[in-house]
Symmetry: C2
Amino acid sequence: MSGGGGAAASALSSPWRSLLHRALEANAHLKHSTFFQLATVGRGGRPANRTVVFRGFQAQCDKIQINTDARNNKIGEIRNCPFGEICWYFADTWEQFRISGSIDVIDSSNPEPAMLQLRERAWFGSSVKSRLQYIGPCPGVPVPDDDLVENSHLDPSAGPVDAFCLLVLDPEKVDYLSLKSNQRLMFTRSQKGDGSNDWRAEKINP
Amino acid sequence: MSGGGGAAASALSSPWRSLLHRALEANAHLKHSTFFQLATVGRGGRPANRTVVFRGFQAQCDKIQINTDARNNKIGEIRNCPFGEICWYFADTWEQFRISGSIDVIDSSNPEPAMLQLRERAWFGSSVKSRLQYIGPCPGVPVPDDDLVENSHLDPSAGPVDAFCLLVLDPEKVDYLSLKSNQRLMFTRSQKGDGSNDWRAEKINP
């Protein structure tokens, strides 16, 4: 189960990635197959949980990308406790992936050019329609009485607006369960001397 | 949005219950419409998230029932931080309910006869097949090398085994989102002088 040969090769051979890839393909006909639930720790140390959309892996590694609105509670909560657990249930194949790890918040104030470039790529990677929500009214606050809805326009070539934020979850543990075969596998990451990832897989009771 | 007339009437008129009832009916043809993701706070204050099955409301109130295995990490985690957030996504109608509240753990050691009765009712309310998992091998521990699987037998009239545990989540806040109509409603509970619940609903930006 060793990755071998640096981060790139290690990511490609992460043993749970092939299971996830297979599940994504087998459930691709379901619109919600790319939706999962992201749990974080919120206000007062209480759990928070919401449906978000899988925006792919970062190139050459296992990091999972999620777009979100910087005006959300989520951001402050994650800065306070930078961990998350994804629960991803595939309805057609009866498979569950619980993916836990640390979360990086990449917003417009990020000091690293490489991170800002990732954020820009995520912005242009999403549809113009989905970009529009980031110039809409602030999420989670009461709707004004007059129900004023502005007609929003967005230049498709314009870069990310301030509200657009990229979350990146770096998996440390993946708990895979198949309800059809009643099999459960626990994948645990460790770091090798050269900084690349090593994944250990263990069959556990469902 | 006031409940009026004691706990029973209050529960029946909880305004989010009718939305949830409608969603459950509209998605009833999907096997997974009664599955939701329960987030809790786990080891080291990190979030934990897993798919569980909705086992109905407690009679005369809004409390949500979930069956679980007492041999799970979940139980210790919940005793340590007795709060949860359910994220319930209905795939056909594009509706999400985020339901947060405190969680009661009702296991065989519960000192209250009424609670033990609830647990017993939950046990007999689940299929004999699903009861079998509670006499199977301890969940989450490695599968023995010899892969020994005992043939389990269960007397259908026998009461709950020790591993069977009932979780009861008492909703305090319900965040409803319809992706089709792009509407979001926040329901917040308060307690009236007579101890019954009062729910306030507010339209907020999605």
